[in-house]
Structures are given as C-alpha cells and as structure tokens.
Subunit: 265 residues, 2 copies
C-alpha cells in the first residue's frame, strides 16, 4: 500500500487538415481536466489503473470512455514516474498532491476513425507541434511521443494505420511527408515501398481525379514474423476500417479482365 498510484494515459495521433490553412498535419485529441490538480487545463486522455485490468486494457478503456476512439495501432510508450511530474507550472492548490506514476501508450487512428472523437466542451483536437500549456508533464510526453512516431515511421510499417484499408501510394507518401516534415520523391518512394513488401497492390483504381487513375494498395498481411520490439503478445495492431485521405476520390470496381496483376505490358 505504500506505493504510488498508477495512471494510464495515451497520446493519440491522427492526420488532419488545418481548418483554416488546409495543410495536412499531425493532430492529437486532448481532454479538459475536470478535477483540481490543473483543473481546466488540457491533458492526455487517461485515468487510474484498476486493480483487475491489464495496462493495455486500461489504455483502451480510458480512451474509449473519454474520446470514443478505438485505435488501430496501440503501443506502450514509456513509464513516467519522476517526483517532480506535478510541480513545474503548477497553478493549483499548493496542498499535498497525490503522486502518480503514468504508464503512457501511444496510438494511431485513421482520419475517418478520428471523427468519432467529436469535439466538445471537454474534448478538442490540437496540432501536435502546437499544443497549449498542458497539465502535469504532458507536454514533455507529447514531444517524446512525436519523436518516437517519427523514428518508428522511418523504420517500420506504421504508416498504414493513418490511412484507411485501401490507399494510393500518393496518400501513403503524404503520411511520411507530413510526419517527417520532408518532401519525398514520388518515384523513389514508390520503388522503396513496393520492394519493401509492406504493401500489396489491389486491382482497384481511384477515379474522379483530373489525372491518370491511381492504383489502390492495401497493407500486406503481417506474416507473423514478430520482429518488432514487443514483449509477450503485444503486436500493437487492431482491425481497421476504410477511409480516405485525399479530397476528391472514389473507388471503382475491378479493371478489364485479362491479366491477374499486370504482366509487364
């Protein structure tokens, strides 16, 4: 009983367009604190860990309770447990504040799934690189999660989680560009992604654009190789529904008939 209490919080990333500039960026939902340490400030969604639930279960529960979100990708980020986590910019009562150790997860949700986290008095989306003053040390946590996101994206196959089930390579490329803050050569990006095996071409194309139709791809079914850094059973992935990233676009049924996947012609 002489142990700090445990809280579980989650940094949720999604790609969204800026309401004014229209620029695509990384956004996160925050919830307003309705209790006294840092009352009224924005904070990461989360809550105390129950006695009878696992860590990831707690992350999903608090996530669903505060934002209605069920992320397609969820992974543990870090355990924050220093003594000064609550002080810094503290503006509340100076009375004794109970100490918490926060076990923080980070999640990716697709743009359509993100809409389930409806904005309200107590829930709002912020650009990840431009958050207001947050409760506790949550600003540090968000920055760390962002760096982890960038780092992980450059190695692995996380980008799919931002887009829907079917996506064009241009959409996938824009995920990389937005997250990493760079621009990528379309041709080189195509070459690398296609040879990586992370992606499989479908026979569907996108029509309705004012240019040549783009082929739709889907994420390769993970071959249960499990090489990623996850102990035990946590693969991080979930089922995912379809949604779109670009502005004007619709999918269309199969192409002609002959040629199973395009025999070179």
């Amino acid at each position: 009983m002489t142990s700090p209490r445990i809280a579980v919080s989650t940094v949720i990333f999604s790609l969204q367009r800026h309401p004014r500039t229209g620029a695509l960026g990384v956004w996160i939902p925050l919830v307003r604190r309705i209790r006294n340490p840092y009352l009224g400030l924005w904070a990461l969604p989360g809550g105390p860990l129950d006695l009878d639930e696992g860590l990831e279960t707690a992350a999903r529960r608090t996530l669903s309770a505060t934002t209605e979100l069920a992320p397609s990708y969820l992974e543990q980020l870090y355990a924050f447990g220093e003594l000064d986590r609550t002080s810094s910019t503290d503006s509340s009562d100076a009375a004794s504040i109970e100490r918490f150790v926060s076990i923080v997860y980070w999640a990716l949700v697709s743009t359509s799934e993100a809409q389930r986290a409806a904005e309200s008095e107590n829930v709002r989306w912020f650009a990840a690189d431009d958050v207001p003053g947050l409760a506790f040390d949550h600003r540090i946590i968000v920055d760390y999660a962002l760096s982890r996101l960038r780092n992980k994206l450059s190695y692995g196959r996380i980008a799919h989680a931002f887009v829907g089930e079917r996506f064009t390579l241009a959409q996938l490329r824009s995920v990389y560009e937005v997250v990493l803050g760079t621009t990528l050569d379309p041709a080189n990006f195509r070459r690398q992604i296609e040879s990586s095996g992370d992606v499989v071409a479908t026979d569907e194309m996108v029509t309705g654009t004012r240019h040549r139709p783009a082929r739709l791809y889907r994420a390769a079914t993970v071959a249960t190789v499990e090489t990623g850094p996850h102990p035990g059973q946590h693969p991080g992935w979930n089922a995912g529904a379809a949604d779109i990233l670009s502005s004007p676009s619709t999918t269309s049924p199969p192409t002609p008939d002959t040629a199973e996947n395009g025999p070179l012609s």
Copy 2:
C-alpha cells in the same frame, strides 16, 4: 489506493567467459527469492517502488542493495502489468497473491564492474540464453531485454558500456560478435566504426601480445546531440572505470615522439 503496487526490476547484462568452455557470452545476475511467491526461485533484482523516489532512482537503489552493482548504462525497458504475470508456472500457495506492475530497466556493466556482484548463496550469474526457471514472468522479460539489447546494439553506441574506458577495436568487435551471435570482418568493422565517429583513437597501444600491437580507442564524448529515444533527462549513461576484456594485455605510455597520430608512414 485502489491501484496495483509498483515494483522496479532490472535486467543486467555483462560479457563473461564461460567457466568451463571459456567462450565469451552474455550473462546476467539473478537473485534468489526469499519470500513466498516463488520462494527459492531465481528472479531479477528489484523491489517495490518507494513513495518518495523516482523510477530510475529506485532501479539503482534496488540494484545496489541486491548486487552491489552501479551500471554505466541504464535505460527503461518496459512496464509489465498484465493480470496473469504471477500465475503460469506458479508453484506456491494458491492464496491471493498481491498484484504488481513491474517497471523494468535494463543495464550494461563492464566485465570488471561485474565482479562487484559477487556470487553467493543468493546471487548467481547465468548465461542469458540459458536461464533456469524464473519467478513470475521474468523469463519473458529477460528474453525481451535480450532482443532489445541486440536491436539497440546494431544501431547505436552501446557497445562501449561492455568494455572499459580504453579498448581495442578487436575487443569492441568481439562485443558485437558475442551479442549478435555473428562473426564480423575485422577490416570492415574497423572501417565502419572509425567512420561512425563513435570512437576516438588514443596514442596508447597494447603490448604483450604475440602479434602487432593494437591501438587503444575510447568512446567519443557524446556531443549532447541527444537524438536517442529518451524522454526528459534520461540519457542512460554514467561514468565508467577502466577494465580489460582480453586475456593477456597491458597498456604502455605514448609512442615515439614525432607524428601526432601517424602521418601515413
């Protein structure tokens, strides 16, 4: 108060020679449980988190208390908090066992530093890939830490922590070979390490071998770039004392005089 208790444990890696075969390998110290869940079994050094100490502080404290070790590299590994952590191979009383969330660190100690963890009735070193049946889910934790060690070694500049302050490139190479379980071409290894900037040549050489003297190197002073995945202030590194890895070797004062670092001749 209705939260699981927190324990902090550490997986400590060190390179040691097998007492019989003489083969170099990755070893970890374990401590014998002296209380009832899993009494008598080997387990990771650790203990409950006090109310007034940070996570890393707790890791160092419990480490020092059980094994006398002060690791040169220490980093958080993962928080384990599933509900079934204590069941599996449980052989103790079936009564209600208190639930713990373990925040696990992993550490590297040099071969000489490792000798401070003297073997005793309750402390023993084991080959990391051949541990006995461990308490709780510690076997899973050890395996995960091993995979993380291998993964991290192939990217970063961790290898130094296994050797002393001064080391030859052959010693550093053997660290890689032992941890990764491969053999590396000496010439190519030299080329890569030297161009990586992680290492700086000294003007000292190793004599006493039956072949050409090898130059001693030291770890490059980290340029405060802090690109590694560590939130807040945790850089992971500590001060380190000198020690040797190979069998016959002594160092000798500077070389002749002319030539600051060998002008090609």
